[in-house]
Structures are given as structure tokens and as C-alpha cells.
């Protein structure tokens, strides 16, 4: 027995966590053997479901629905309508306003009115086109302006208010105001929406769904079928991308597959065609932001008045949380002494907008960056100066919702390091020199911060469970409530469990997320997957270890400190056993080698009615510096260089974290540049395929792309190995690109704030360029 040493010496070197290990499925990805739902072996007699819709209808009452030709089409086994729903015809997360199948009214262009079940998917698709229907035509409410005029909202207005913005505005030396339009974004997960339902005995249903929220799939299917939750099991091994688009949006397709399976008694699969997927599922909310900001004459903010007009679509979906998060991030990283930040959740006759990586936060932050840019431009100062002047600090560190920004020093250090590593000030001079010499091409530069609150603002979602079994051969079965959509969650949790048992990763069997193993889970969302599930899995492994340790202490008459788990072995004093030997002994001694771990995030409070509390466990920080060139004759733009420094605490897996940062940034860059959702005047989405909706390609990433993890002291909160969440925050690093484009356009008429809206397509850039030229002419 050795005497206890100091804490550091007690801590053995980490073997598996904090290592840049490959994604658990990497080899399967590259060989094509990673199975997605469409790749699973289909049960004999599997039928195929295709959603049917009335293509000419946007908004109106269905006065005639003739499905005879559909039914008589070759291969058709069944055609389902709202009348075929045995339970409740609703697949919403909470508000009861999302019909699985339209019932009487068409609420938006693309709403599912019926479903075809056929022997093959091709037969079902062909049949679905044969519908004949008459729908009255109600003039649709489409834009923010339409909705404001029609006074339609999906939820009541809401606001954060701090101090007295009226007094603050009056006390300001200068006031700047403006309006910014921010476009939505299509998720464009490469694997489209898909589900397969397999009928079970006693009316049960097993549903494979590409979902971020298996529990909601289970509950929704049970509700739609009218059976108890216990009769339904949802499972997902992996998704081909999620990004928020499979948080609530998978419900409808799982419900239709289950309805079809219920109706036919056969396994039924639904896989959306890409156009249907893009037309029928929700997107990132688009906004108009009207803002007014007062400062002291040097650029230090006195008061802020912002109004976020959000297009929610025809139903609530997740718009409550999304728009709340917009408000939570309307400060970006800046202290607002007095502020009113208002939110209007507008109802439009369009597809219901939903979660998308960042969950409303990116729009809030982008508006804040626009305000800072405007102050700087008006003062003729560098925007970075104004950003730093307004950063939270030791004294000015309360957010508009009353939560202190405790780690403001991390923010300062990080931005300072990035300022240096990106050679910001030198390049500012280079950019100015370039712009002085070039009439057609203009360069822009921007360095913007990220501060993102980590935790679900709906408190009860901040919990997770894991199920860990140790088998008697020393292998471990790992299961938890988190889902794998490519973000590497399964690998990170497996690393944590392997570390805990002192075993190599090959001993840990990762298994599909399944509601019958770990129940009542929250969605894998809000960047919280690892924080929650890795902790639950660690607790489960710890408990099993503790039981074994207690057993061994008794058997070997030693203290717990004499027992060590490591290198697939258990060391007891000077004896060494394989974990398998020990597991067998423990089993013979009737020790339970399985445990369900449970974790709930500590210390978070949020009172929505008073808009106060500590809704976030902590903040994740980051910064990006971007340089762009625009062509002022055509509006074309290139991103020349990007430097990123991002805070993930102590990284659980630097390779995976780097992938999240780079991928998130590029996704954000797409949102703010090439990804334009276009609806026509009738309310029909015109960009519903990759031929018309343009996400970034390989040549869009900057030639010079320097991405580093911030080396700090780790998360001050007791998160899993002091890491920080990384899923969403990097999206907002892309604000630097938008601000750099703004900077380039601003060079055309010093002192004028460009009227640049997002996304900054060539056309949007040209519009801003014209505005500047006109104002310069008028100067």
C-alpha cells in the first residue's frame, strides 16, 4: 500500500481522452460500410412511403381531394390521409400545431396532404403526382412586413430590458440606427430525412429514424398511433448530418412511416427526395433587425434598442427557444449599460422555421456586430477598436439578462492573441494601401469575437442518461441518450469510458441510441451532447468501478488506493489481473456489472417571466479574423484569408474539435455569403435543390486558413475533463467574413454605413455598392 501523494501525482497520465483520435466510424465512412438507415437490410416485404402534396396550393381550404388515380397507380398498397390517423394528428414538439397530414386546410406551400404507400419508392413517387385537388386561395402572409401588417404571430412578443434605455439614449452623445436583413439557411444535411418503421407485437412499433431526438420520435409516434410510449422504440445509430434540422423535423417522417406500417402491417420506409426535403422542412429563421444604439462620443455604448422581427412560419415548432436565444446573444461580447432587446415571433404562411446550429444566436450576434461596425464607420475608427472598447470586463460584466460574464479575461486574452497572430494592424495598413491603389477591387478586413452560452435555456433538457455494461470478458457495452450526426460524440464518450475503466478503445462497444436503453432523453442539441452524455457515461463507469473496487478491497483486504485500473488490467497491490479475470470474479460474487448513469447540469437558473437568472453553465469563446476582396463592378467576392482562435477548454479530442470549428465556420460563411433562400411572390420556395441553393464548395475555403485551439486553463466549471462545448459556437466565427465584406464596401464612401444585408451574394454586394456610390455623390 502506498501513501496518498499530492493530487497531481494521484492523477495518472491520460491514455485515451484528450487525444486526437479518429472518428469511431472513420474506417467505415471511407469504405462505404457505415450503415445509414437507407442502407439497412430491409425486412421482407418492406413498403415505401412518399409524402403527397398539392403543388398549386399555398394557403387555403381543401374543397376537393381526389385520390382515385393515386390509389389505382401501379404498386400502390395504401393511401393515407388525416382520417387514417388513429391517435392525434400532430407531430409538433410541444404546441400541438403541426399536423402530420393536412386536415382541411393547406397552411403553406409544400404541406403534406396525403401519403402514398407502395411496393417500390419509384411507384410511390409516380403515384403521388396523380392527385387532383381543389384548394381555395387565401392571400398568403409571406414576409415580415406582411405579418406585421396582418398582426399575426405564433407566440407573444418578448423582451429583455435592462436599466433605462430611454434615459441612456438621451444621455448619449451620438445615436446611430439602421436596419439589417438576415437570411435563413437550409440545413442541407447530405443524408435527407428518412425513417423506417417495423411493426411489433401488441401494436408496438420499432422506428429507425435519422433524428437528433429519439425520445421525441418515440413520444410523437406513440401520440400519432394512440398507443402508450412504452409500445414504441426509436433507434438511431448515425445520421448523415443534422445541424438542428433533425431535432423536431424528423418527427413527421417517422410518424408517416409508423402510420403506414400500422395501416399495412408491413415494414415501411420513407426517404424524402431532396426537393421535397427542402420544400417541406423548416430552416434557420430569417430576420429583419431594426436597431438604434447610443454611445458617448468615443464609441463606448450607452444604450441599445433592438427589435428582432423573426419569420417563424406557420407554426411554433422551436421558435420560442430559437428567438429567446437570439436575445441571449444580441450582446455578442459587448456590455450594454441600458438596453431593450425586443423579439417578435411572426407567423407567416411558410414552412415552419426550426433549429439550426446556433439556434437563433448567430442572428443576434450579427446584428450586434453591425451596430459596432456602424459606430466605428461613423467615428472613422477601426471597428476592432470599438469592439475592444465595449468588451465585457471586470466591472462591466453583466449581460442584459443579468448573468455575469465571469471569463471575460479569456475573451480578452484570446482576442489579443488573435490580433497578434493574424497581424491585424499591419494588414489593416496593407488593406488601406490596396484600396487606395485599386479602383475596381476593394479589400476588407474584420476581427470579430464569439461568446456563446452553453446549456439549453429550457432547463429540463439539461439532463442525460447512459447505460454501461461490463461483460465478463472485459468488454464494455456503451449506450447513452446522445445521437451521432458526425460531430464525434460517440467517439468522445467512448474515450471517456475507456479512460475510466483503464481499457483500450477497442474494448468499448459503441451502440446505437435507443429509447429502450436510455429513456426520457433530451435532443442532441445546444452543443451539449458531450457535456451531458459523457458525464453520464463517466458516472456509470465510475459506479461499476466502485462496486468492483469495493469487492476487491474486501477480497484482498486492502484499501481502495491500492487498486488501479489501467492498460486493460487491474492492479491490486503488486498483483496484476486482466479486467476480464476481475469481471468474472465479480460476477461470480454476484456484483452488478451494469449501471445507468445520470447527469443534470448544476447551477443553472432561468426565470423567463422576469428575464433574469443564470441560464448558461458557462460561455464558450472564440475569435476570427477575415480578409476579403470584392469586385465593385460585379459584386463577386473571395475570402482571401481567415485566422481563427477558438476556446474548447481542455479538448477531449483536438482532431474532432478542430473539425467542428472549421466545419462550423465554413457553414456560417455559407449562410452569410452564397446560401440564398428565394421565395417567389406566391410564397413558393424557388431554391429547393443544390442546383439552385449553393452551399460552400472546396474552392470557397480561404487559401490561407489558420485555425488553432486556444490554450487556456480549461473550463472553470467542472465539465467533463474541463472541456467546453464546440458544436455551435464556431458558426458565429463567420461573422468576421460578413463584417470584412461590410468593411470593403465601406471603403467606397468613408463615414457611410453600407446597406449590406445577409447573405452577401454578388447581387447584395452590388446593391450596397450602389448605395455607397449614391451617398458619396450626395456628400
Amino acid at each position: 500500500m502506498t501513501a496518498p501523494l499530492d493530487q497531481a501525482a494521484m492523477q495518472p497520465p491520460l491514455k485515451t481522452v484528450c487525444k486526437a483520435l479518429a472518428h469511431d466510424s472513420a474506417e467505415k465512412h471511407v469504405t462505404g460500410t457505415a450503415a445509414y438507415i437507407d442502407d439497412m437490410v430491409e425486412p421482407t416485404g418492406t413498403l415505401h412511403v412518399v409524402p403527397g402534396w398539392i403543388r398549386q396550393a399555398v394557403r387555403g381550404e381543401v374543397t376537393a381531394l381526389d385520390l382515385d388515380d393515386v390509389r389505382q397507380s401501379p404498386g400502390v398498397v395504401a393511401v393515407l390521409t388525416a382520417a387514417d390517423v388513429p391517435g392525434t394528428n400532430d407531430c409538433s414538439s410541444a404546441f400541438g400545431d403541426d399536423p402530420v397530414l393536412a386536415d382541411g386546410d393547406i397552411l403553406f406551400h409544400g404541406q403534406v396532404a396525403f401519403a402514398v404507400v407502395a411496393e417500390t419508392r419509384d411507384q410511390a413517387r409516380r403515384a403521388a403526382k396523380k392527385v387532383k385537388a381543389e384548394v381555395t386561395s387565401i392571400p398568403p402572409v409571406l414576409t415580415q412586413e406582411d405579418a406585421v401588417a396582418a398582426e399575426t404571430t405564433v407566440l407573444p412578443d418578448y423582451q429583455f430590458r435592462r436599466g433605462s434605455p430611454e434615459t441612456g439614449m438621451n444621455a448619449s452623445q451620438e445615436i446611430v440606427s439602421g436596419s439589417l436583413r438576415i437570411g435563413g439557411q437550409e440545413h442541407f444535411y447530405l443524408e435527407g430525412q428518412i425513417a423506417m418503421a417495423v411493426p411489433q407485437e401488441d401494436g408496438g412499433m420499432l422506428v429507425y429514424s435519422s433524428t437528433q431526438h429519439p425520445t421525441e420520435i418515440q413520444h410523437t409516434v406513440a401520440k400519432v398511433l394512440g398507443v402508450p410510449d412504452a409500445l414504441v422504440t426509436a433507434e438511431v445509430r448515425r445520421m448523415g448530418g443534422g445541424f438542428g434540422g433533425k431535432e423536431s423535423q424528423a418527427n413527421q417522417w417517422a410518424s408517416l412511416a409508423a402510420l403506414a406500417a400500422h395501416a399495412t402491417g408491413r415494414a415501411c420506409k420513407i426517404r424524402l427526395d431532396r426537393d421535397d426535403d427542402m420544400i417541406m422542412t423548416g430552416k434557420r429563421h430569417d430576420f429583419r433587425v431594426d436597431w438604434k444604439i447610443g454611445h458617448d462620443g468615443t464609441g463606448k455604448i450607452r444604450a441599445v434598442d433592438m427589435e428582432f422581427l423573426s419569420r417563424c412560419g406557420y407554426s411554433v415548432d422551436l421558435s420560442l427557444g430559437v428567438n429567446d436565444r437570439t436575445l441571449f446573444h444580441a450582446d455578442s461580447s459587448y456590455f450594454y449599460p441600458d438596453a431593450v432587446i425586443r423579439s417578435r415571433r411572426l407567423k407567416t404562411d411558410t414552412v415552419s422555421n426550426t433549429a439550426f446550429r446556433g439556434f437563433g444566436g448567430p442572428q443576434g450576434m450579427l446584428a450586434a456586430e453591425r451596430m459596432i461596425d456602424a459606430i466605428a464607420i461613423k467615428l472613422g475608427k477601426d471597428p476592432l477598436e470599438i469592439r475592444k472598447l465595449n468588451f465585457y470586463d471586470g466591472e462591466r460584466n453583466q449581460t442584459p439578462f443579468g448573468m455575469p460574464v465571469e471569463e471575460y479575461e479569456v475573451m480578452h486574452h484570446l482576442i489579443g492573441q488573435l490580433e497578434e497572430s493574424s497581424a491585424y494592424w499591419q494588414r489593416r495598413e496593407d488593406v488601406s494601401a490596396f484600396n487606395a491603389e485599386n479602383a475596381v477591387l476593394k479589400k476588407g478586413l474584420a476581427l470579430t469575437p464569439v461568446k456563446f452560452g452553453i446549456s439549453f435555456t429550457l432547463k429540463h433538457l439539461n439532463q442525460a442518461g447512459a447505460l454501461v455494461h461490463l461483460y465478463t470478458d472485459g468488454s464494455v457495452h456503451l449506450n447513452h441518450g446522445g445521437t451521432e450526426m458526425g460531430q464525434g460524440l460517440y467517439q468522445k464518450v467512448a474515450q471517456v469510458v475507456a479512460e475510466e475503466f483503464g481499457i483500450t478503445l477497442d474494448k468499448v462497444r459503441i451502440t446505437a441510441t435507443n429509447t429502450s436503453k436510455v429513456p426520457n432523453t433530451g435532443p442532441t442539441a445546444a452543443s451539449s451532447g458531450t457535456d451531458l452524455n459523457a458525464m453520464a457515461a463517466k458516472l456509470a463507469a465510475q459506479e461499476i468501478k466502485a462496486r468492483i473496487t469495493a469487492f476487491l478491497c474486501e477480497q484482498h483486504q486492502c484499501g481502495a488506493e491500492a487498486i488501479h485500473f489501467g492498460d486493460n488490467k487491474v492492479i491490486i497491490g503488486d498483483q496484476s489481473f486482466t479486467l476480464s479475470e476481475i469481471a468474472k470474479q465479480a460476477h461470480m460474487a454476484r456484483i452488478q456489472l451494469s449501471h445507468a448513469g445520470f447527469y443534470a447540469t448544476p447551477g443553472i437558473t432561468w426565470d423567463r417571466d422576469t428575464a433574469t437568472g443564470r441560464p448558461f453553465y458557462y460561455f464558450a469563446f472564440g475569435g476570427a479574423c477575415a480578409e476579403v476582396t470584392i469586385d465593385t463592378m460585379t459584386g463577386e467576392m473571395t475570402v482571401d484569408r481567415v485566422d481563427i482562435l477558438h476556446d474548447v477548454g481542455h479538448s477531449l479530442n483536438p482532431a474532432i474539435d478542430l473539425g467542428q470549428i472549421e466545419g462550423g465556420f465554413v457553414q456560417g460563411m455559407g449562410w452569410l455569403t452564397t446560401e440564398e433562400l428565394v421565395w417567389d411572390a406566391q410564397g413558393r420556395l424557388r431554391t429547393h435543390a443544390p442546383s439552385t441553393y449553393k452551399i460552400p464548395t472546396a474552392s470557397d475555403i480561404p487559401e490561407e486558413f489558420h485555425v488553432r485551439l486556444y490554450e487556456g486553463t480549461g473550463n472553470p466549471q467542472e465539465t467533463i475533463y474541463r472541456s467546453k462545448a464546440v458544436g455551435e459556437p464556431p458558426v458565429m466565427l463567420a461573422n468576421a467574413v460578413f463584417c470584412a465584406i461590410t468593411d470593403a464596401v465601406a471603403s467606397l464612401a468613408p463615414g457611410e454605413v453600407p446597406d449590406l444585408d445577409a447573405p452577401a451574394t454578388p447581387e447584395a454586394i452590388m446593391k450596397a455598392v450602389h448605395g455607397m456610390r449614391a451617398r458619396k455623390a450626395g456628400q
Partner: protein, 493 residues
């Protein structure tokens, strides 16, 4: 006559006697063979998740090209070696491109990965490639990834794809070559009956006869457009005539006066000749579709389907290209611009088909520029496409040929602007004004999801100005942000 299609997979000859006329290669792989490594991401050839490699003998050498299997008709792989993601790893050992993708963390959700692997496989086997980021991003333009941001994939490509190929495919290359030679025959291929068939005649006369007999048949070259009618609109096309086995149509001949392009010559096959005509034409070629689309898509098809936003016609019209048509009654030629009558309507008579195109080169007094404006640099359809050819004499424009795409229902010449430029001086921008103004009477562009009418008009004028500025040398050092990008990316990694 042969009533089967034959191809090579994994060293074995596969012979199919039942092939739906519009059955796609992707459906064949996933539904019939139950090989699910190849994924469907979009069903329109824009995401690359379904990419497979087709190996063919070109001048006696094996050439592997990436194709989108979702828009490749199954019958079109006749005579090729088909390589899918399942075929790369051998004896439990990953292929070098697979290993690099694992080592450099090139996959996250993994759904797009098989497509990337296959495009990288073709890059791995490509000859005459320069190791650079630009080379890689050009090859990868047709593969979308929504997770990684591409950096690790590009790094994996740089790591794995630029040494001499040394894999199972090179080891058995001689054997493969022999097997493909054995498969090559000059028989007509015909599967089906007179109500529905996939046919591929091997001679022009055979084609003319078959088409005369079935004027309702659909003629397919690369299928990069026709297949979308099937996958997207569920079009019933019971009779398919594929041109891919007619040797006379698959030609690219550079003569003293220009380039003769056969109807089935792909973008890929014509790129070098186009670049030799003029640099910006070559740069345009690299931005048409993607590597996958350029491997299958043909200039003949791009013209024959008459799209108002086709990338090639404006440039080719400006160059003065002429089109050759053929039918059982004989042949005729016409200026390319005359082929496009109105939106969706071309001057193609019943039983007539496009056989080729002649693109004149530039004479000593002529200069040319073309530009493509789109939301995204790579693999996007143009909002505005412009081609300019000016004949010069002592700094004066003696003749202008100007054509635009995206500005009207068809690719169209700018007659007023052309006339207004005759006599304009390169050195005096004031003399360009009438032509700029002329564009307003030449076009009334539409507003759609790609651009507004106003932006199109403004950009059309900007491109004319840009061409004149560049040619006259009155421009600041560089006036083209995208050409600048080309130059930047030329740096070796």
C-alpha cells in the same frame, strides 16, 4: 446486334440483359446489387455523394473518371470498368486515399465520404497533374460536404493523390486493359422492344435509321440533363438512344482554322483545345459543372437542349461557331446563334440530330474574353454569361461579336451593342458608351432565383466594360476578382 450491356466490376465481366431505358446506375447499385456504399444525396448530380469511377481505354491507356451515378443511365456504362467505394480496400487494407482520409480526419457524418473517396481515387490515377490546392479543389468541386469545411479533405488529397499510383488497379492494369479490349465491339446495342428500349447504335447511319424509325426517342449523350427529367420530374422516356458508341461523334480535331467538336465530345475532352483558343475560355471550361459533370456532359448536349443559361453557347456564339446537324435526309450547318429560336425551341427538325460543332480560332487581329457570373464560384449555373470577340485595327474595334446567356429566353447576340462598338476606340472609353446603352435595348432579362433583372442588366454592362478595360489596358492592374483567385491558387501547396 447485341442485346446485353457488359462492363467490368472487380475484375469480373458483368453482363446484363435486362436494363430499364432510364434505369440509373445508382439504382442498379443500391437496389439491384444491394451495394449501399454509394449514396444518394440529391438525385441531380450536384452533390457528388453518388460518385463512382468509370475506367475506359483512351488511346490504349486506362483513364478513370468520376461520374455521378444518380444521373448516369445504367446502359451508358457499357464497355467500361465500374469502380465503387466497396472495391478499393483490398485484403483488409485501406486504399491510400482512404487511409489519408482517416489519418487526416476527412470524414465527420460520413455520408458524403464515399463520393469524395471515389473522386479522389480518380485524381490518384490521373496523369499530368500538378500538386496544388487548386488542382484538388478543381477536382472536388462536384462533391459537397456539409460537415468538415473541406480543409482536411483537401489535405488528404494532397497527401495521397500526387505520388505515382500504386494500388490493386495499377497492379492488374494489363489484365483490365485486355478485358476492356475484349469487351469493345462495334455491334449495335439494343435492349428492349419497339415500345421501349435502350439502344446504342455504333454508326451514324445506324443512328439516323433508328431515329427515323423512332422520332419520338430521346437522344442522350452524357445524360447530365436528360437524367434529371427522370430523377426529378419522373419523366417517362421509354425509348433511349445513347450516342456513346458512335466513334465518329467522339472527336476533337484541331485544324489550322479552329476546332471540330463531335456531338459526344465531353467538356473534359475539349478543355485543352478550348484553352488553346483563349485563356479565359479555358478558365470558363473549368467552371462548367464539376469534374463529374464534365466527364459525362457534352458540348453537343449543352447546345442541343437549348438551355437559356447554358454556359457554353454565349462564348461559342461570340467565337462564331457553326453547328452541324444530320438526319437520314442529309446534313446541314448553321451559325450557332440561329439554332436557338426561342425559349425551349431549337431549329432541329424531326429525325435530325446534332453531330458536331466547328469553333473558329482567333485570327491575329481578334481578341476574346468570356465571363461567368454566379453566386458560387464552382459548380453553379450562371446568372449572367458573356462572350466577347473584337476585331481590332490600330486600336479601333472594326467588328464586335457579343453574346450573352441568362439575359433572354435563349443565348443571344447583342446586336445593338455590336453595331455601336464598330469604330469605337479602345483608348477612348467615351466611345464605349453607346454600346453600354445598346445593351438596354438588346435585352430585357428576367428575375429568378439566380438574380434580379436589374442585376443581370447591370452585370451585363459591367462585363462589357470589363472586357474593354482589360483589352485596352486602361484598367487598373487587375479588374477581375475571380481571375485573381485563379492566379493565387496556382501556388503549389
Amino acid at each position: 446486334m447485341r442485346d446485353t450491356i457488359r462492363f467490368l466490376k472487380n475484375g469480373e465481366v458483368v453482363e446484363l440483359d435486362s436494363v430499364g431505358p432510364t434505369e440509373t446506375l445508382l439504382d442498379y447499385l443500391r437496389l439491384r446489387r444491394r451495394e449501399t456504399g454509394t449514396k444518394e444525396g440529391c438525385g441531380e448530380g450536384d452533390c457528388g455523394a453518388c460518385t463512382v469511377a468509370l475506367g475506359r481505354l483512351v488511346g490504349g491507356k486506362m483513364v478513370y473518371q468520376p461520374v455521378n451515378s444518380c444521373i448516369q443511365l445504367l446502359g451508358m456504362i457499357d464497355g467500361a470498368e465500374l469502380v465503387t467505394v466497396e472495391d478499393l480496400a483490398s485484403d483488409q487494407r485501406l486504399h491510400p486515399v482512404q487511409k489519408a482520409m482517416v489519418d487526416l480526419h476527412g470524414s465527420q457524418c460520413g455520408f458524403c465520404t464515399p463520393g469524395f473517396i471515389m473522386t479522389l481515387f480518380t485524381l490518384y490515377h490521373a496523369e499530368e497533374k500538378q500538386k496544388s490546392r487548386k488542382t484538388v479543389t478543381e477536382w472536388l468541386a462536384g462533391n459537397l460536404c456539409r460537415c468538415t469545411g473541406y480543409r482536411p479533405i483537401v489535405d488528404a488529397a494532397l497527401e495521397a493523390c500526387f505520388d505515382a499510383a500504386d494500388d490493386a488497379f495499377t497492379w492488374r492494369a494489363n489484365e483490365t486493359r485486355q478485358k476492356l479490349q475484349d469487351l469493345a465491339d462495334s455491334r449495335d446495342v439494343y435492349l428492349g422492344d419497339s415500345n421501349g428500349f435502350f439502344a446504342s447504335p455504333s454508326t451514324l447511319d445506324g443512328l439516323a435509321a433508328l431515329y427515323a424509325q423512332h422520332p419520338d426517342a430521346t437522344i442522350v449523350a452524357g445524360a447530365t440533363d436528360v437524367a434529371l427529367w427522370v430523377t426529378k420530374n419522373l419523366a417517362e422516356l421509354p425509348k433511349i438512344i445513347w450516342l456513346g458508341r458512335i466513334e465518329e461523334l467522339d472527336r476533337v480535331e484541331e485544324t489550322g482554322s479552329g476546332v471540330l467538336i463531335g456531338a459526344t465530345a465531353t467538356y473534359a475532352a475539349t478543355e485543352a483545345a478550348m484553352t488553346r483558343i483563349e485563356t479565359s475560355l479555358g478558365a470558363l471550361w473549368k467552371r462548367i459543372g464539376s469534374k463529374q459533370v464534365r466527364a459525362s456532359g457534352t458540348i453537343g448536349g449543352n447546345i442541343a437542349n437549348g438551355s437559356p443559361i447554358g454556359d457554353t453557347p454565349p462564348a461559342l456564339i461570340a467565337l462564331g461557331a457553326t453547328l452541324e446537324l444530320h438526319s437520314a435526309d442529309g446534313s446541314r450547318a448553321l451559325p450557332l446563334e440561329d439554332f436557338f429560336l426561342e425559349y425551349g425551341k431549337q431549329d432541329r427538325r424531326d429525325g435530325e440530330f446534332v453531330t458536331g460543332l466547328f469553333v473558329p480560332g482567333l485570327s491575329a487581329n481578334q481578341v476574346f474574353r468570356c465571363y461567368k457570373i454566379s453566386k458560387r464560384f464552382d459548380q453553379d449555373i450562371s446568372a449572367v454569361m458573356a462572350g466577347f470577340r473584337f476585331a481590332l485595327s490600330d486600336g479601333v474595334i472594326t467588328e464586335a461579336r457579343i453574346a450573352y446567356g441568362g439575359m433572354a429566353g435563349t443565348p443571344k447576340r447583342a446586336a445593338t451593342a455590336e453595331a455601336a462598338l464598330a469604330g469605337a476606340s479602345l483608348e477612348d472609353p467615351a466611345t464605349w458608351g453607346a454600346a453600354m446603352q445598346g445593351l438596354i435595348s438588346d435585352f430585357t432579362p428576367m428575375t429568378d432565383m439566380r438574380a434580379s433583372s436589374a442585376y443581370r442588366m447591370e452585370t451585363a454592362r459591367a462585363l462589357l466594360a470589363k472586357a474593354l478595360m482589360e483589352i485596352s489596358g486602361t484598367a487598373p492592374e487587375d479588374v477581375n476578382v475571380l481571375i485573381k483567385r485563379e492566379v493565387d491558387h496556382d501556388r503549389a501547396a
